[in-house]
Symmetry: C2
Subunit: 215 residues, 2 copies
C-alpha cells in the first residue's frame, strides 16, 4: 500500500533507518496530510526488505547504549523500479471525495439534535485550525520545498476551505432543524424514483469497477 511508496520515496533521497523515516514524515508535516501508524511503517519496511526492494546498508550500534541497534536501509535497483510503478499506481487510484461525515449524513436524522449541532460546531472549529496551520506551514516553507510538496499543501488548504463552507451549511441546517426533518416517500415517488434511476444508469455509467488497487 501507500506506506511502501512513502518509504521508497524517502529512500530515493538517501539511506535512512526506520525511525528516521518516521521523524522525516513528522518534520515535513506529512502526518497531517495522510494517516500513518508506526506499526505499518515497520511492517512495510520488513516486507520491502523481504522483497529485495531495500537492503540493509549498515547496522549502527551506539556503544554504551542498550537501545536496539539501528538498521540503515538503502533502496536497491529493483526498488527504484518498484518505486516508479508504485508512483504510477498512486496516480491511477480513484480518488472520490471522502469525508467521515458523509457516512453519518444519511442517519443524522436519527440522532440527538443538540448533540449533533455541538459536534458539527466542533468540526468547524477544528477545520479552521487545520487551515490556519497549513497556511502557516505554506508561508514558512512554501518556497523551500519541491513544488510537488507545496502543491500538496495548497491542495490541502483548498479542500479544507471547501470543507469549511460545507460544514457551515451543515451547521446552519442543524440549527434551523431542516437537517432532522423526517420524511417519507409516497409509493408513487418511490416508483418514479426507481424508474428514473434506470434511465440515469444508462446515461451516466458508474466507474469501471476494478479501479483502486492499493490504498
Amino acid at each position: 500500500m501507500s506506506m511502501r511508496l512513502l518509504i521508497l520515496g524517502l529512500l530515493m533521497e538517501r539511506e535512512r533507518h526506520p525511525y528516521e523515516i518516521r521523524q522525516t514524515i513528522k518534520l515535513r508535516n506529512w502526518n497531517e496530510c495522510f494517516k500513518l501508524r508506526d506499526g505499518s511503517l515497520y511492517y512495510a519496511v520488513d516486507q520491502l526488505r523481504q522483497d529485495g526492494l531495500i537492503e540493509a546498508a549498515e547496522v549502527v550500534a551506539v556503544p554504551g547504549d542498550n537501545r536496539p541497534d539501528k538498521t540503515i536501509y538503502r533502496i536497491t535497483e529493483s526498488g527504484r523500479e518498484a518505486f516508479l510503478l508504485l508512483l504510477e499506481e498512486q496516480f491511477k487510484m480513484t480518488s472520490f471525495p471522502q469525508h467521515p461525515l458523509f457516512l453519518a449524513m444519511p442517519f443524522v436524522r436519527h440522532g440527538h439534535t443538540d448533540k449533533i449541532e455541538a459536534l458539527v460546531l466542533k468540526q468547524l472549529e477544528d477545520c479552521e485550525m487545520r487551515i490556519a496551520r497549513m497556511k502557516a506551514i505554506l508561508e514558512l516553507k512554501g518556497d523551500l520545498i519541491p513544488r510537488g510538496s507545496s502543491l500538496m499543501i495548497e491542495g490541502f488548504i483548498r479542500f479544507g476551505e471547501t470543507e469549511k463552507t460545507w460544514l457551515e451549511q451543515l451547521l446552519a441546517e442543524a440549527r434551523s432543524g431542516k437537517l432532522f426533518e423526517s420524511h417519507q416517500m409516497t409509493p408513487e415517488q418511490i416508483e418514479a424514483y426507481v424508474v428514473g434511476l434506470k434511465e440515469f444508469e444508462k446515461s451516466y455509467p458508474p466507474d469501471t469497477e476494478k479501479n483502486d488497487k492499493d490504498s
Copy 2:
C-alpha cells in the same frame, strides 16, 4: 468501524438481510461516496450479532433453491444505543482532507514527466465524470431523500469541484515542467527552516493526537 454504523443505520429503518444491505447501499449510490467491500459487510454483521446489537429475526429458505438461506436481521435495543454512540463517534472523527495524490506529490519529481502528465489528465477526466454523475443523481432524487443524504451529495459535488480546479493546476504545472523542477536547499535555508518550524509549532499546536477513533 464505519461499516457497523452503516449496518445499524440501515437496520434502524427496518429489518434486512446482509445482501439486502449491500443492495440498498448500491441503490442509494452510497458506494460512490465511501468505499465498502462485501467481506467487511459480512464480517461486521457477524460481529454485531456476537455483540448482541443485532439479532436474527427470521431465516428464509426459498424452496427448490439450493442457494444459502437468507438470515434477516433486526436491530436490538442495545443496538439502538450503540447506533447513537457510533453516530457521535463518526462526528468526532478528525477529518483532514485526503487525496491519494497528496501522497504522491512529494515524490512526483522522481517520476517520468510524460507518464505523470497523462495520468493527471486521466484523473481530471474521471473527476469531471464523477461530478456530472453526482449532479444527475442530485437532480433526480435530491427532493425525495432525507436532507442529510442530499447534503452528502452536495458535499461530494463541492469537494469534487475543488478537486477539479486543483487537478487543473496540477496539469498545468506538469505541462510547464514546474512540477518536476528539482531543487536543493542550501544549508542556511535548512537551518532557517528548522528554526522557523520550532517557532511555528508554538503558535500552531498540532491536533490533540488521540483524535480519530474508528475509521
